[in-house]
Amino acid sequence: MSGEIQVTSTTERAEEDDEAVTPVGRTPEPQAPARTPKRTQGGVLNVFSIGILILWVVMAAGPLIWVMVNSLRDSADITGTPFGWPTSLSFENFTNAWSDANIGKYTLNSVIILCGSLPGTMLLGSMAAYVIARFSFRGNRFVYLLFAGGMMFPIILAVVPLFFVMDNFSLLDTRHGLMLAYIAYSLPFTTFFMTSFFRTLPGSVAEAATIDGASHMRTFFQIMLPMAKPGLISIGIFNFLGQWNQYFLPLALNSTEKDKALLTQGLAELSVNQGYEGDWGALFAGLSIAMIPILIVYMIFQRQVQEGLTAGAVK
């Protein structure tokens, strides 16, 4: 389709090149016939492009929907016939996954870790960012670069020494140890992001607070932190998803005791066990338990989630 339109455009351009002032009578002439095909071709293009767009909707959501539908079917039905509707409404798979495969316990473990690591990350990250952004002191630049440099840094390189550092502090296979590791590896980006956010906030409000006799602490907690709320929400969502979905750190630092495994580890384990037992139903139910809450939360806060997750790359 583009060919035709380009032809029109080149002729038009050629005309303009010939004479700066195009004769008035001639201009509508090439455009009039071009209009009609343009519209129909636009239609063809639209059908084509919308077809591709819809195809990718199926690709992106299809596997997830397939898993959710199958989580309601009997394991015996699923094997060999991947497509089909549940014959009877039973949540047996879900109870199997929740209690027998311990998905419930793993979810709780993940929640507990997150309850410590997420507030910790946000608090420590914004504290460091606030000081870096709003106070001048010797070493300010150095501290900033120290945090910013950490963003480029792959966890995989540090994992072996980290394992033994944690071991020396007897933090291995403990909840607080894992929380600290999550916090430490979320700090670079959190600090970097919040620093640039605090820099955009007007200084006059903090000055007014100081004149009114507020201490530095009070200015931070009662004035600046509330003002930084949009930034905190973005980075909070980013950290929430990043930490909730973390697979590598728990695998390396938290894999000896099965009782303490997190949801991501539990799912990987379930997938391996399913291979031996052929219990597809429980596997799909486990997956559904893990993804439905996240997807619901995402759909409610989709704008914030999209902004929060892409904020990192835009900066």
Partner: protein, 358 residues
């Protein structure tokens, strides 16, 4: 009052703001030092009414706020980073505390390690191909959503109807854990119960059915596909946002000049959002170099069959935690870091061009 929420039991390193003063004795210095570690409420009277108190207060605040984040960060991130370089020169097994310096032996051993080279080959394949496909699809979809719609009279460009819906759905894989994605696609590729083979059978293409992950020739492409699948949505949203910030009148001008949609894309949109594309490319490259979770969860024996899907991070992990060659594993990590840095450097050099302000 939030003044006394935390006590710090270490003397912070912030320099005490003491300049030459008439009556500054040793006792005063001690008082200043004491003030730095005590909560503001317990500031000695004498210090509080000193004229240097304001500076002292500032440094007290700075050091208190930086202390905890910096200690955690230094111990768990900075120090392992530097230790990695050190351990990469040793023959440390990881199980015992004694090891010898072996110089660059680990690195020369890598040169003859076939598994290592297989992993590098696979990682480089991901590094080169995954960003091209992902960013290409991302740009295409984003442009469709932003400018693919029927031309309305009032607007130079308009998105397709339901653009928001597409974006929401495309972003699904991005909010899910890689662990979930690995397991879901492991099931998708299952030769008997997986829907891919079933679809092929339904459409009479039964000859194309595969045991996808068990075929060494195909398994790596499955990994590549899943990596791209995961990230396309992210780039659609990212590029849509970037395209949305391009002023409409530029498109209007292009339309008046008779530019077709492909021309508009390549001559107007792409140059204007090039910065974002470049950042996205580097980001995607780093993600592709990782690829740990997908391979570790989805493929047979984490990197199999054979070593056909082995990527470098998985190899490193196996060496460190399965066979107890921590020294060698860190050396592999150092090589991986070098590759990452070379890649970022090349990308920055290649794509450097004048920034267009709009």
């Amino acid at each position: 009052m939030a003044n006394d929420v935390r006590t710090v039991d270490r003397k912070p390193t912030g320099p005490t703001p003491v300049k030459d003063e008439k009556r500054t004795g040793l006792g005063d210095y001690l008082l200043f030092a004491l003030t730095l570690v005590l909560p503001p409420r317990y500031t000695p009277e004498r210090v509080r009414y000193d004229r240097r108190y304001r500076t002292l207060d500032k440094y007290r605040f700075i050091s208190w706020f930086l202390l905890v984040p910096l200690i955690i960060y230094a111990i768990l991130v900075i120090s392992p980073f530097f230790q990695a370089f050190y351990y990469s020169l040793t023959d440390w097994s990881g199980f015992s505390s004694d090891f010898n310096m072996v110089g660059l032996d680990n690195y020369s051993r890598m040169l003859e390690d076939d598994d290592f080279w297989a992993s590098i080959r696979n990682s480089l394949l991901l590094l080169v191909v995954a960003p091209v496909i992902t960013l290409g699809l991302g740009l295409f979809f984003a442009f469709m959503l932003q400018a693919g719609g029927r031309r309305k009279k009032s607007d130079a460009i308009s998105g397709v109807t339901g653009a928001k819906f597409y974006k929401v759905v495309y972003f699904f894989p991005q909010v899910l854990s890689v662990a979930i994605i690995g397991v879901v696609w492991g099931a998708m590729f299952d030769p008997i119960t997986g829907p891919i083979n079933e679809l092929l059978r339904t459409f009479g293409l039964g000859s194309l059915t595969q045991s996808w992950l068990a075929n060494p020739d195909i398994a790596m492409f499955c990994v590549l596909f899943v990596m791209c699948w995961m990230f396309v949505g992210f780039y659609v949203v990212l590029f849509s946002a970037a395209m949305g910030s391009v002023p409409k009148d530029i498109y209007e001008a292009a339309l008046l000049d008779g530019a077709s949609r492909p021309t508009t894309f390549f001559r107007v949109t792409l140059p204007l959002i090039w910065d974002t594309v470049q950042t996205g490319w580097i980001y995607m490259g780093i993600q592709a170099l990782d690829g740990f979770a997908v391979v570790h969860i989805m493929t047979i024996n984490a990197g199999g069959p054979g070593n056909s899907t082995l990527v470098t991070p998985v190899y490193l992990y196996k060496k460190a935690f399965d066979v107890g060659q921590a020294g060698y594993a860190t050396a592999v990590g150092v090589v991986l870091l070098i590759i990452t840095m070379i890649f970022s450097g090349i990308m920055m050099l290649l794509s450097r061009r004048e920034r267009i302000e709009f």
